[in-house]
């Protein structure tokens, strides 16, 4: 029993790491631009399908690197033409806009790649369990965790040590002041959005290696990311990180004892956090409330 529990906690952390990658992208966009990006799952799927299309030409590794960039470029185009128009307006409009975008992206992938799922092949070296004992820790899942870890460390370094990163962080706290200091807020938001979509694209490639690649796969992954953000606290990327891992573990462990509640447990966790600490685990008082 203890072993089973231990297995599932480790396993939950692995799942959580994946939620984190998606949630951080969502969180970046929410924090700076006050936009809940419903289309995030759609971009994830696009990233997966682009990787699937590139794989025969560039191989898995090439696709892994190129696909997120292409997804980010699509994201940037969407931001420039559509989303930038609703900045500063009632959040209602950005919600509806990205909601509509989600429809377009899902049906768009269906038009381009077909409704049936696509087999996305990962290198044989990654498709192996590490040991017979810990069979659920495959090299692919370890690789996934490593990619997530490296990406997040890089992201935090970027936010701390580059000029744009510092501005994004400052803008999260007080956009008006940043704007008053002469920073081009428009460009900053575009960059930030592109980074967020890059992360969605990367999540898409990673997900395609483990899950079935289908136009509808993004919608199911969106909600856990939402909850990761709420549990961690809106406005805090560290919070999103912790929140994602937490719900991963909670859902992994619940699946053992009470599988019907493995989704619901995330929401229960969220409800408890909201009751005890309304701003989330790492949320700043007053932010976005």
């Amino acid at each position: 029993m203890t072993q089973l529990l231990l297995f599932n906690i480790t396993n939950g952390l692995i799942i959580g790491a994946f939620y984190v990658l998606m949630a951080i992208g969502l969180s970046l966009i929410l924090n700076l631009s006050n936009v809940i990006n419903f289309a995030h799952g759609g971009f994830l799927v696009v990233g997966g399908y682009i990787a699937y299309t590139l794989e025969p030409y560039l191989g898995f590794w090439g696709a892994l690197i190129v696909s997120p960039f292409l997804t980010a470029i699509i994201g940037l185009a969407v931001e420039k033409t559509l989303i930038s128009r609703v900045y500063g307006r009632d959040p209602l409009y950005s919600l509806l806009l990205t909601f509509g975008l989600a429809f377009i992206l899902e049906d768009g992938t269906r038009v381009i790649w077909g409704a049936n799922g696509k087999p996305f092949t990962i290198p044989a070296a990654l498709a192996q369990p590490l040991s017979n004992q810990f069979f659920f820790i495959t090299s692919y899942r370890l690789f996934m965790v490593a990619v997530v870890a490296v990406t997040i460390v890089l992201l935090f370094l970027l936010l701390r040590y580059t000029r744009a990163g510092v501005r994004i962080r400052a803008g999260t706290l007080d956009l008006e002041t940043v704007s008053a200091l002469g920073v081009n807020v428009r460009a900053l938001r575009s960059l930030n959005f592109a980074v967020g979509i890059f992360l969605a694209g990367l999540s898409g490639v990673l997900a395609a290696g483990q899950l079935g690649l289908e136009p509808t796969m993004g919608a199911g992954l969106l909600m856990p990311s939402f909850i990761a953000i709420i549990v961690g606290g809106v406005g805090s990327l560290t919070g999103t990180l912790v929140g994602g891992l937490l719900i991963g573990v909670a859902s992994g462990v619940t699946a053992v004892f009470f599988p019907a509640a493995s989704e619901a447990i995330m929401y229960v966790l969220m409800a408890v956090v909201l009751l005890v600490r309304p701003r989330g685990l790492f949320g700043e008082e007053g932010m976005l409330t």
Binding site: F7, N11, T121, F135, Q210
Partner: protein, 420 residues
């Protein structure tokens, strides 16, 4: 890319052609349909063309359209051409019910096909029953449709979950072993499928080491697989369908579980196998219809014709479901020389499908007592390496006739209430 766009275009074109001139008026002025010619026989199909069942629903539609083409080329039904009206249920009951009412109340269809989703199929069967319209459920497997929720006007083409379980159980038991562990999708379809398989297993004297109920839409199966492996069974039965099954089998293969435990399941579909990487295509399964049947009359022509209409893809079981549903109506109506729903529903009982429609070696007929089509099960193994054709992903071992897999009529729980 152009393939899909073409299919979209075909939709409206087929709509127009199917009804001759009539359809054009509908596109141009959908709300003023009284102007349309009235000499066509309208047939409706409701299926989830968007959402998680989109792929199988779209294949079904290809089959229905092909059937309409064939029927109209041979003079239609009672000399009148069939006009096909296609409606998307969007995998939503409310939408499905509304579309059913629209097709029946406004468009005045004579015959209804659908839905892939069992829940929606049951809901629209309620509507078709209320309106006394002949209805064939093409792709919803839940037992109730031809069991305790059966209606006089509703027939079903695809298998019941009991039939699926009965077809595979014996082979699985003899070949793989007697300790079974289930991964079951947590909804009615999964429950009945699992119960049926478990009952068979008990009959043979085997044991169940566990049953993991996985919520529909589960993406990560690792927690369940950890538990299943710890139970150390001989066979792991993977019962989820569609995307869930793809996810599950992908993870099974990556964890190397298939190298320690036999992996198998009941219902398998070409759509799912095609969505999986080679290493995930393992185990014993049943197909409800398979495109490669050397020596069976009509199959080769059917496959060739469908390939022409689907951008080179072979027909799947779903394509055949759609085709058979549509053909059944035309055949029975031409035979009975009437469009009256009650008469046709009566005539379809014990109706046997001719070779060019059944496309399988065994006898294939609608059972009168529960309105279930006695169709064969194609039991065999999934192929990691395609045998020749890239879409040949399954090796058929045996083809078991439907009346061997189906429980007797008396056990289905169906009592048909015919209108007075």
């Amino acid at each position: 890319m152009t393939k899909r766009l073409k299919l979209g275009a075909v939709d409206s074109r087929a709509l127009i052609k199917a009804g001759g001139v009539a359809g054009l008026a509908q596109i141009a002025a959908p709300f003023v349909w009284s102007a349309r010619a009235a000499d066509t026989i309208k047939v409706g199909i409701i299926d989830p063309f968007t959402g998680v069942y989109a792929a199988v629903a779209q294949n079904e539609l290809i089959g229905v359209k092909y059937a309409v083409e064939q029927i109209n080329a041979k003079g239609g039904v009672l000399g009148r051409p069939i006009e096909l009206l296609v409606e998307d249920s969007a995998n939503d009951v409310g939408t499905g019910v509304q579309k059913a009412r629209k097709l029946i109340e406004r468009d005045g269809i004579q015959f209804l096909i659908g839905d892939v989703n069992s829940g929606i199929a049951l809901a629209i069967a309620q509507v078709s029953n209320e309106k006394k319209v002949l209805h064939i459920v093409s792709g919803g497997h839940t037992d109730g449709i031809t069991g305790k929720d059966c209606h006089w006007n509703v027939y079903r083409v695809c298998n019941t979950t009991k039939m699926e379980a009965n077809s595979v159980a014996e082979l699985l038991f003899n070949k793989y072993g007697k300790k079974w562990h289930f991964i079951t999708p947590d909804y009615a379809f999964g429950h009945t499928l699992q119960e049926a398989a478990q009952a068979d297993l008990k009959k043979f004297g085997g044991t169940v080491t566990g049953n993991e109920l996985t919520p529909l839409g589960t993406t990560d199966f690792s927690a369940y697989l950890i538990k299943a492996r710890a139970a150390n069974p001989d066979v792991l039965l993977v019962l989820p369908q569609g995307l869930d099954m793809v996810n599950c089998l992908k993870q099974v293969a990556q964890f190397g579980i298939d190298k320690q435990i036999h992996v198998a399941g009941l219902q398998q579909e070409l759509e799912s196998l095609e969505a999986m990487p080679p290493e995930a295509r393992v185990g014993i399964w049943m197909f409800e219809w398979y495109w490669k049947q050397p020596g069976v009359p009509g199959v080769e022509k059917f496959v060739a014709d469908i390939r022409q209409r689907s951008g080179g893809k072979v027909p799947t079981a779903r394509t055949w479901f759609g085709y058979t549903s549509m053909m059944s109506y035309a055949l029975v109506a031409n035979q009975a020389k009437t469009l009256d729903g009650v008469t046709l529903a009566k005539a379809l009982g014990n109706f046997e499908l001719p070779p060019e429609v059944k496309l399988q070696p065994n006898k294939c007929y609608y059972r009168a007592g529960d309105h279930q089509l006695m169709t064969s099960a194609f039991v065999g193994e999934a192929l990691t390496k395609p045998a020749g054709d890239p879409e040949d992903l399954f090796k058929v071992d045996t083809v078991i006739p439907g009346d061997k897999t189906s429980p007797p009529e008396s056990e289905t729980g169906c009592t048909l209430q015919w209108p007075a």
